[in-house]
Symmetry: C2
Subunit: 328 residues, 2 copies
Amino acid sequence: MSIKIGILGYGNLSRGVESAIKQNDDLELVAVFTRRNPEGVKIKTEGVGVYSVDEIENFKDKIDVLVLGGGSATDLPEQTPKYAKLFNVIDSFDTHARIPEHFENVDKAAKEAGKVGIISIGWDPGLFSLLRMVSTAVLPEGNNYTFWGKGVSQGHSDAIRRIEGVVDARQYTIPVDAAVESVRNAENPTFTARQQHTRECFVVAEEGADLARIEKEIKEMPNYFEPYDTTVHFISKEELDKNHASLPHGGFVIRSGKTGFEKENSHIVEFNLKLDSNPEFTGSVIAAYARAAYKLNKEGASGAKTIFDIPVAYLSSKSAEELRKTLL
Amino acid sequence: MSIKIGILGYGNLSRGVESAIKQNDDLELVAVFTRRNPEGVKIKTEGVGVYSVDEIENFKDKIDVLVLGGGSATDLPEQTPKYAKLFNVIDSFDTHARIPEHFENVDKAAKEAGKVGIISIGWDPGLFSLLRMVSTAVLPEGNNYTFWGKGVSQGHSDAIRRIEGVVDARQYTIPVDAAVESVRNAENPTFTARQQHTRECFVVAEEGADLARIEKEIKEMPNYFEPYDTTVHFISKEELDKNHASLPHGGFVIRSGKTGFEKENSHIVEFNLKLDSNPEFTGSVIAAYARAAYKLNKEGASGAKTIFDIPVAYLSSKSAEELRKTLL
């Protein structure tokens, strides 16, 4: 008997979840819900319906876990607590500063309904958080470093697209080699944002647009680009579509710590991801934790959970005996 | 109030645990137990007693978690179940093939006594297992690779020491660069043992010993050296003590997996350790999981647990709220 999954929204991340479900025999996609006209949404999985979100309550007993594919700015703060009243839910909420508040809202709704709500799943927050937590507990005296890239930041690409005269854009976040090397050599450096990452932008401008003005607006954009060394390349729409269509990403979390009665020994713990497709990998993490949501709830658990609260055995379709035998 | 830790045995690993306890304010070493004459064992932590293992029962209510510092061949199969009847226990049992049997024995004893017994903690088995499990669940279609080194294998060093005419030895396990590169490039290779690691040995021989015979015996030793390209260097005791006194180690686990409806996207998940001191890092992992044993038992849990069964939040002295705020 498979675990029945619903997905709300059908953007890049939801497509990644759909693809991941297909790779897991014990997971079954049963419905995609949309706020648009369902007839305009064509999904890849044959035989699975697309429904208006207005119909979602009718699926109360037909879905084991609802995946929320929306964004952290406005969708998830409202949707995750709302749907935790009906379903076990999982989201990829990534506004770090608002996680405590989001957790409380989901926890309250999920507990009242006897459901499990897993929040902030993906790779950062998500697997990177897991590794930061474990390595900090193991090496209490040390420093954490997070590098992102080389890869496409969708948030930064969107920020460029909002500039007047810009048709399309891709922004790559790139770790600075010297910074990475210093961390891996256990030098325990401190960095400004500029010293740790650079930003490279490929921009398609409208015909006749003022390129100098666009470049200036990008480079001076507070928070997004101003604190970094930023390079801007203007290219054609054809070139963007040809060379920058995919959404690769990655990065690494490093804990640099010391042990010994005299702190004489250094240790480097690194977790490193190289991803051809950010949404498909993120979707794969979400699929595994959707399985965990189902298993936890089946055992009687309820309320909000994060990646810190869930034994990793719950991620697998294999039994605990099998896992001990093959992967320990 | 601190968590009271006892350690049975006082070899390299136990010293690493002792050092880790000193770095964690909420952990307190209260006793070291030995099968030797306690008066001959001098530990580093001031004010803490060394006792004969015959006295261990007297500490039943004075110790929250007993760390078993012994070896997997003969000590732990007997000791972990035995002491799980008296204490929450933790060990670093690393005979992969016998883990299911060891788990059952510890589980039975610990459940009867209402204690928690955490087995096979360290980095392999241990953190490497955790990463293998998570990344296999996230990327169900793919391959796992484990590389060890560059670092000192104590088992292989011991094997050389047992050869007639050998005074002392250090064996370094070294990953083959071309193999590592192929895996990181998502080529999904298959390897023989020889293609994945080489072995380099530094050997101090007795005066007048037959060096050619020793070298031959090393290189032809089944399982340990025969399946590998092995280099043997004969050096003086002084040189060994000067250049090969420390016990560095490390290695990395890589999951190479594919996603997408056409399996068109590759992903590389790598967990990498570079350790100046293998016993101190292993001891640090054990200290964090000793905290988890205490917390789990305090909440009413009992029985055997592995790294797959324990939410990582239990490793930390910080509250769940604090962890969500700072590390998620």
